[in-house]
C-alpha cells in the first residue's frame, strides 16, 4: 500500500507526464468503483486504500488528469474534500471543463443517500442506491478495480474507453447526489472531452508557478478567476433551404445539408449538438463558421446565426446557453450564400426553384447540365447556378423517382429545442418535488449536459423508428425512401396503412419518452410527428409546409381531404377507438363532405347512439370532429 502511494508522490514531479495530453473523457473512470466499500476516492488519490494485491499505477497523462481534475477547498463544501488539485495547465483546463460539463451547480445538492442510476426525466425509473446494481457490475470487486487500473495504465484512447466501459458509463449517473442524478457519466465524459478541446484552443492567461503555488491559490484561479476571464462564443447555427422545392430531384438539398453538418461535427469538437438542420457550437470565436459559410455558397443555402459571448462562470454560462438555444442571442443574422441582386430583368428571369438568383443562361450550360434540367415530360426548368449544382450532387432519391402513381406518406419527426427546455424544466421540478424538497425553484436549471443526455436517447429513438418502419413496410418491394434521419417517404397502398405508422410512433414514444405523453394546453411535446399524404406527383413543397413547422404534437394531413391534429396524450386513445359500423361510417363520411356540423348532428342523433357510441365518447374526451372524420377516412380505406 505504501509503495503505491509513493508512486503518486514520485509521479507528481514527473515532468514527462505533464508534456503529454490526458484523455479528458477518462477523468471520472473512478466513479465506476464503489467508494463506500473500497474507500478509494474517484480521483484515485488514496489508491489502493485498504485493499491489497491490486496492480500499481503506471503513470501517464491520463492518470494525472484523473487525479487532478478537482479543485476543492473545505470552505466550498462541508464534506471531506479531495486533497489533490490541478498542477499543470492541462489539468487546470480539465478542471474547468469538468465544471462546465457538470449537470448542476455545486450549491444545489439535496442531502440523502446517493442514487447511482441515471434518472431520465423523460423516462424515469426507480432510483437505485447501490452502484453495483446501477451499473450491473461488481463495482467493489478486486477484478473490477484491476480491470480499470490496468486499462488506464495502457494509456488508452477515448474510443477504446467508450468501447470498453461505455455500457457502464451510460447507466451510472455523473453526480449521485439525490436530485443531481439526471445525466449519465457517458454524457458527462463526452462533454468534458469537448469542452477540454475547445478550451485548449483558447489563450488562457496562466501565470503561475505550479511547483510553488499553494492549493488555495490554484483553487481560486480555477474556480473564480479563470471562469470570469475566459470567454466562449455560444452559437446557434441553422442552415435553411432556399425556398420552394417542388421536384423530387431537388431533394438532394436535404442530403447536402445533412452531410455538411455531419462532416462539420466530425471535424470540430466545438459542435455540441446537431440535428439535421442546426447546430449548437461553443467556440473561442465565430471564425469557426467561415468554413461552413464558404461551403454553403456553392448550393445557395441560407445560414441563420444567433450568437453571444459568455464568461465561463456557471450562472452566466447557463443563462447565455439558454438564450442562444431560444434564438435570443445578442446577435442574430441571416447570411445568404451570395447577396441577392437588386434587380433581375424579366427577360433573364429568376430561378424557378430558389427564386433568389437569376437564371443561368441556357446557352452557356454544358450538355450534362442541360440534361439535368429536362424532366420526363420534356419540360425544361429554368434554374440558377446553385440549383443546378444541387441537381449535380450525387444520385437523387432512387425509389421516389421511380414511383409513378399511387399515394405516398411523407413522415417527419421534429425536435423543438425550446419546447424541450420548457418540458425538462417542468419534469425536473416534478422530480425534485418528489424528493421532498419544498423550495424547488432554485434547483431548476437546464444545462447543456441535460440536453446532451436527451440527445443520446433521441438518436436511439430515431434509429429504432427507422428500423421498425423498414421492417413493416419493406418486403419484396422496397417502399421506404430514407431522406434524412428524421424524414421519410413511404409508398402506401391504402390510407389505412397510416394507422401502422402511428402505432409504431406511439409505441416508441412509450418506450423512450413516456413523460412527454403528459401533455397539456401549456406544455406540449417537444418531439412532434407529422404525416403528410397525397398522390406521389403532388409537389413536395406543399408537404414541406406542413412537415417543417408542425403546430400540434401529432398531425396527419391528407392533402385536400382533411387532417388530424392531436396532443400526444390523445394518440393512444385515438388508436384505441374501435369503429365497426362500416356502412354507417361511410355515410357519415359523405355527410361530412357537405357539412361538418351536419356530421356532428348525425353523431349525436338518436341513430348516432346506435351507430357511433365510440365517436360520441371521443368527442366528449376533447377530440376535434375534423380529426375524427379524417381518421374515419383513413381506417375505412
Amino acid at each position: 500500500m505504501k509503495e503505491s502511494n509513493l508512486v503518486w508522490k514520485n509521479t507528481n514531479k514527473n515532468v514527462n507526464s505533464e508534456e503529454k495530453e490526458p484523455v479528458p473523457e477518462i477523468h471520472d473512470i473512478g466513479k465506476l468503483i464503489n467508494r463506500e466499500a473500497t474507500e478509494i476516492e474517484h480521483n484515485f488519490e488514496n489508491y489502493p486504500g485498504k485493499l491489497q494485491g491490486l496492480p500499481e499505477i503506471k503513470e501517464n497523462a491520463t492518470w494525472k488528469g484523473i487525479r487532478e481534475h478537482h479543485c476543492q477547498l473545505p470552505v466550498e463544501r462541508r464534506e471531506k474534500v479531495l486533497e489533490e488539485y490541478p498542477k499543470s495547465k492541462e489539468t487546470v483546463i480539465l478542471a474547468i471543463a469538468d465544471s462546465l460539463a457538470s449537470v448542476v451547480s455545486r450549491h444545489i445538492k439535496i442531502g440523502g443517500h446517493p442514487f447511482y442510476n441515471v434518472y431520465k426525466l423523460w423516462n424515469p425509473t426507480q432510483n437505485i442506491t447501490r452502484l453495483s446494481n446501477a451499473i450491473r457490475a461488481h463495482s467493489m470487486g478486486k477484478e473490477w478495480i484491476e480491470k480499470i487500473v490496468n486499462f488506464v495504465n495502457k494509456n488508452p484512447s477515448k474510443e477504446e474507453y467508450f468501447q470498453e466501459f461505455g455500457a457502464y458509463l451510460e447507466k451510472r449517473c455523473e453526480d449521485a447526489s439525490p436530485g443531481c442524478n439526471i445525466t449519465s457519466l457517458l454524457t458527462h465524459s463526452i462533454l468534458v472531452g469537448k469542452f477540454y478541446r475547445v478550451l485548449k484552443k483558447i489563450e488562457i492567461p496562466l501565470q503561475i508557478d505550479f511547483r510553488n503555488a499553494k492549493k488555495e491559490e490554484i483553487c481560486d484561479l480555477v474556480n473564480k478567476k479563470l471562469p470570469s476571464l475566459i470567454k466562449l462564443t455560444i452559437i446557434k447555427c441553422k442552415i435553411k433551404l432556399p425556398q420552394y422545392i417542388h421536384r423530387t430531384r431537388d431533394l438532394n438539398i436535404f442530403k447536402i445539408r445533412e452531410e455538411l453538418l455531419r462532416k462539420f461535427q466530425e471535424k470540430y469538437p466545438e459542435v455540441f449538438f446537431r440535428t439535421s438542420d442546426e447546430m449548437i457550437i461553443f467556440s473561442k470565436d465565430d471564425s469557426i463558421l467561415d468554413e461552413i459559410k464558404n461551403k454553403i455558397k456553392k448550393y445557395g443555402l441560407i445560414i441563420e446565426i444567433t450568437k453571444t459571448i459568455s464568461k465561463l462562470e456557471k450562472e452566466d454560462f447557463k443563462n447565455n446557453f439558454i438564450k442562444v438555444l431560444f434564438g435570443r442571442g445578442e446577435k442574430k443574422e441571416v447570411l445568404y450564400s451570395k447577396d441577392p441582386e437588386d434587380e433581375i430583368p424579366s427577360n433573364i428571369g429568376i430561378c424557378e426553384v430558389c427564386q433568389l438568383s437569376p437564371v443561368k443562361s441556357y446557352d452557356i450550360l454544358s450538355d450534362d447540365e442541360k440534361k439535368l434540367l429536362v424532366d420526363e415530360k420534356g419540360r425544361t426548368d429554368n434554374l440558377c447556378e446553385s440549383c443546378i449544382e444541387i441537381r449535380k450532387y450525387g444520385e437523387s432519391l432512387s425509389l421516389l423517382s421511380k414511383w409513378e402513381e399511387g399515394n405516398v406518406a411523407w413522415i417527419k419527426i421534429t425536435l423543438d429545442f425550446m419546447k424541450l427546455v420548457e418540458k425538462l424544466k417542468m419534469l425536473y421540478k416534478e422530480y425534485i418535488t418528489g424528493l421532498g424538497e419544498k423550495d424547488v425553484e432554485r434547483y431548476i436549471e437546464i444545462r447543456p449536459s441535460l440536453i446532451s443526455e436527451f440527445q443520446l436517447d433521441y438518436n436511439k429513438f430515431l434509429n429504432q423508428f427507422n428500423e421498425k418502419i423498414h421492417q413493416n413496410f419493406d418486403g419484396e418491394e422496397k417502399r421506404v425512401q430514407d431522406v434524412l434521419e428524421d424524414l421519410y417517404c413511404i409508398k402506401i397502398n391504402k390510407l389505412s396503412e397510416i394507422v401502422k405508422i402511428l402505432e409504431i410512433y406511439n409505441e416508441l414514444i412509450g418506450e423512450f419518452f413516456p413523460k412527454f405523453r403528459e401533455t397539456s394546453q401549456f406544455s406540449n411535446s417537444p418531439v412532434r410527428f407529422v404525416i403528410s399524404c397525397s398522390n406521389v406527383k403532388f409537389p413536395f413543397f406543399e408537404h414541406w409546409r406542413h412537415l417543417e413547422n408542425p403546430k400540434y404534437d401529432v398531425e396527419v394531413i391528407l392533402i385536400g381531404k382533411g387532417k388530424i391534429e392531436l396532443e400526444l396524450n390523445k394518440l393512444s386513445k385515438l388508436l384505441d377507438i374501435k369503429l365497426k359500423e362500416k356502412t354507417a361510417l361511410e355515410k357519415l363520411g359523405n355527410i361530412s363532405e357537405i357539412s361538418e356540423q351536419l356530421a356532428w348532428m348525425q353523431i349525436f342523433s338518436e341513430e348516432g347512439v346506435k351507430y357511433y357510441p365510440e365517436l360520441q365518447k371521443a368527442l366528449r374526451q376533447g377530440f376535434k370532429l375534423s380529426s375524427l372524420l379524417t381518421y374515419i377516412k383513413i381506417i375505412s380505406d
Partner: protein
C-alpha cells in the same frame, strides 16, 4: 411628412398566387404584398405614384380545382388545384399622395382567376394615420416590401432579413424582379405592419 390612408379590405374569395411554375398545386400568398395592391391601385387610379401594402388579418383556406383549356386543340390540360383564401378581412395602407383623391369606398380586383369570379375586394376608408401618430417598434414584418421602397413605409432598420423578389412592370410586356423584404423579417418599423 408621411401619412397613410388605412382601408379595411373585405373579400369573399381571393387567390394571391405564389410564383410556382409547372406545378399542379398553386399556393396562395398569405399577405397582401406591395406588388399586388400597388399595381391594382395604379391600374384603377391611373398613376404610377401610388405605393401601398396590405396585411391579412383573417382568412380561411379552401381549394379550387380547375382545368385550363388549350385554346388551339380545345382540350383540357391537367387539372390544377388552387389555394383560395376565403372570407378575407385585411387592412391596406396607402401612402398619401396629394395628387389623388382616393374615394371613401371602392371595389378593386386583385390576384388571379379574376375571370372565374375571384379577387373582388371592397375597400372602405377607416383612418388617416399621420406621421406623428405612427408607433415605431421592433418586430416581425407582416407583408412584402421592395427594398428600394422601405423608406416610404418607414422601415427604419432591418435586423434580420428574408429576401425574395417582387415583380414591377416597366412596360406592357416586360418588367423587373426587384429585391424585396418578405414577411418574417425582423425590422424596426410601423407597428401596423408588424405581426
Amino acid at each position: 411628412m408621411v401619412s397613410y390612408l388605412e382601408y379595411k379590405l373585405e373579400s369573399n374569395a381571393l387567390i394571391l398566387g405564389e410564383r410556382i411554375k409547372g406545378s399542379v398545386f398553386r399556393p396562395s400568398c398569405k399577405t397582401l404584398r406591395w406588388s399586388t395592391i400597388t399595381m391594382g391601385l395604379r391600374k384603377i387610379f391611373g398613376s404610377d405614384d401610388i405605393h401601398a401594402v396590405g396585411i391579412l388579418d383573417h382568412y380561411n383556406i379552401e381549394y379550387f380545382v380547375y382545368s385550363p383549356a388549350d385554346r388551339v386543340t380545345r382540350t383540357s390540360k391537367i387539372p390544377l388545384q388552387v389555394e383560395v383564401l376565403t372570407d378575407v378581412i385585411g387592412r391596406v395602407y396607402i401612402l398619401k399622395s396629394h395628387d389623388i383623391n382616393f374615394p371613401k369606398e371602392f371595389e378593386i380586383y386583385l390576384g388571379a382567376l379574376i375571370s372565374k369570379g375571384f379577387g373582388r375586394c371592397r375597400l372602405k376608408f377607416e383612418n388617416e394615420i399621420d406621421n406623428s401618430e405612427i408607433e415605431i417598434e421592433k418586430g416581425i414584418l407582416n407583408t412584402r416590401i421592395p427594398l428600394k421602397y422601405l423608406e416610404k413605409f418607414l422601415i427604419k432598420k432591418v435586423i434580420y432579413s428574408i429576401y425574395g423578389y417582387l415583380f414591377e412592370p416597366t412596360s406592357e410586356t416586360s418588367g423587373v424582379y426587384i429585391k424585396s423584404l418578405f414577411e418574417g423579417s425582423e425590422v424596426v418599423g410601423p407597428k401596423f405592419l408588424l405581426r
